[in-house]
């Protein structure tokens, strides 16, 4: 039954194709447009591109998780999960499924883009790893924001949870500079992984509490 629920959530997201295809396409469009705003002749440090990709991923992930719980709340599916005491499982599965269908593809698209800028494959793979990890963190917090304000289109919840992502962005920035300078990344990466583990373990419980309060 447990594996069944995961599959059901995956199926639901998969069928709602615009939710997971959309962000990847938007991301593609944004990163294609970006170099156009820069001077093609000047030597732009890779740092700018990487920093831009971190921010774009942040915003596009926000787009992708906009309705993660709202939709199920509106049509009564969330209520059903609550009655059957499956809320906490569903929160985990939904986040997992969004990460697999949105977060990881996004990371791959970014990876290809970075490679296309003739940045070394070493740096590009590090960027890929970082994006895969930080996307899970982003998705967790944006889901928290969505859970706080379940009504469609309300950005209040998102607005509130973005400050929590600032430390993550700073870590990503540090990783960028360290990689480009050839310094050791072990410390920064393990910090990122640590944050991801903490966040992915605790935030779903908070989300479950918030959803249950909404359903009262």
């Amino acid at each position: 039954m447990t594996k069944n629920l995961l599959f059901i959530e995956g199926f639901k997201l998969f069928k709602r194709s615009r939710t997971w295809v959309g962000p990847v396409l938007v991301f593609l469009l944004i990163i294609i447009s970006f170099p156009l705003t820069l001077d093609i002749n000047s030597d732009n440090p890779p740092q700018i591109y990487l920093s831009f990709i971190w921010i774009s991923t942040l915003l596009v992930t926000m787009l992708g998780t906009e309705l993660i719980f709202s939709e199920d709340f509106e049509d009564g599916t969330l209520e059903q999960y609550a009655v059957n005491n499956k809320l906490i499982e569903i929160v985990f599965y939904k986040i997992l499924v969004h990460w697999i269908l949105i977060g990881i593809p996004l990371a791959f698209v970014a990876f290809l883009f970075i490679l296309s800028l003739n940045i070394s494959i070493h740096i590009s793979s590090i960027a890929l790893l970082c994006l895969v990890i930080s996307n899970l963190i982003f998705i967790n917090f944006f889901s928290l924001g969505n859970a706080l304000s379940l009504k469609k289109g309300s950005i209040l919840g998102l607005l509130i949870t973005i400050p929590f992502l600032i430390p993550v962005l700073i870590v990503l920035g540090k990783i960028t500079t360290s990689t480009l300078l050839g310094l050791s990344l072990v410390g920064h990466l393990s910090l990122l992984v640590g944050v991801m583990t903490l966040v992915a373990s605790f935030i779903p419980f908070i989300i479950s509490f918030i959803l249950r309060t909404h359903l009262e």
Binding site: L148, L156, G157, P163, F164, P167, K174, I206, I210
Partner: protein
Amino acid sequence: MIKKFFHQFASPKSYFAIANKFGKPFLTFFFLLYVGALVWGLFFTPPDAVQGDSYRIIYMHVPASFMAQILFVVMAITSAVFLIWKLKLAAYISKSIAPIGAIVTFFALFSGSIWGIPTWGTWWQWDARITSTLILFIMYLGLISLHASFENKDKADKFFSVLVLIGVVNIPIIKKSVDWWSTLHQSASITLTSKPAIDPVMLYPLMFSIVTFIGLIFGLVILSSLNEILKREKYKSWVKNI
């Protein structure tokens, strides 16, 4: 048994009775003392060797920054009390702290800006302290609008409390991480935590202004909480009898 006693003792009604009586006098007392502290600091202390007279803004800026952070911690404590023991009074107090926290934080940012102009030649700097204070300000605003956006105020209290608790963990993290970030771009910032460097002549009025400001702000919190209680309990009989 103890829970029942607790609930009876810490009921909005009994708190209101006490706070209503002592709130205004308390506030007036500390307000006057704070004004006294300012007068002391503004007129009865020598000018600074480096900054001249412009340093005097610290008598307003430091208490404000300090209170901005302390208020958030207090809000976190009352929120935790609310979530653990389901004490409604705690939620009322939490919610009434937020607007005051926002104003104090804004004042801290504003006075900091004014201080920056003669001292560093700039009204803003992206260092750890200022950035995390700005984010603190945004958090206060976010909390206020979150609570306001819910019809059902009991639910609003729960969401508010959860967010405060996550926020209280996040604010120090932001501060540390921006600090870590800015070590690549070291900029001169005067830190008042290096106490030995400050002359006792200026330290005493500073401490006095901090202490009186704390009293002043708590007076405001008490008044604000009274207001909140009246708003939220307006259908209760004891409120109708006032």
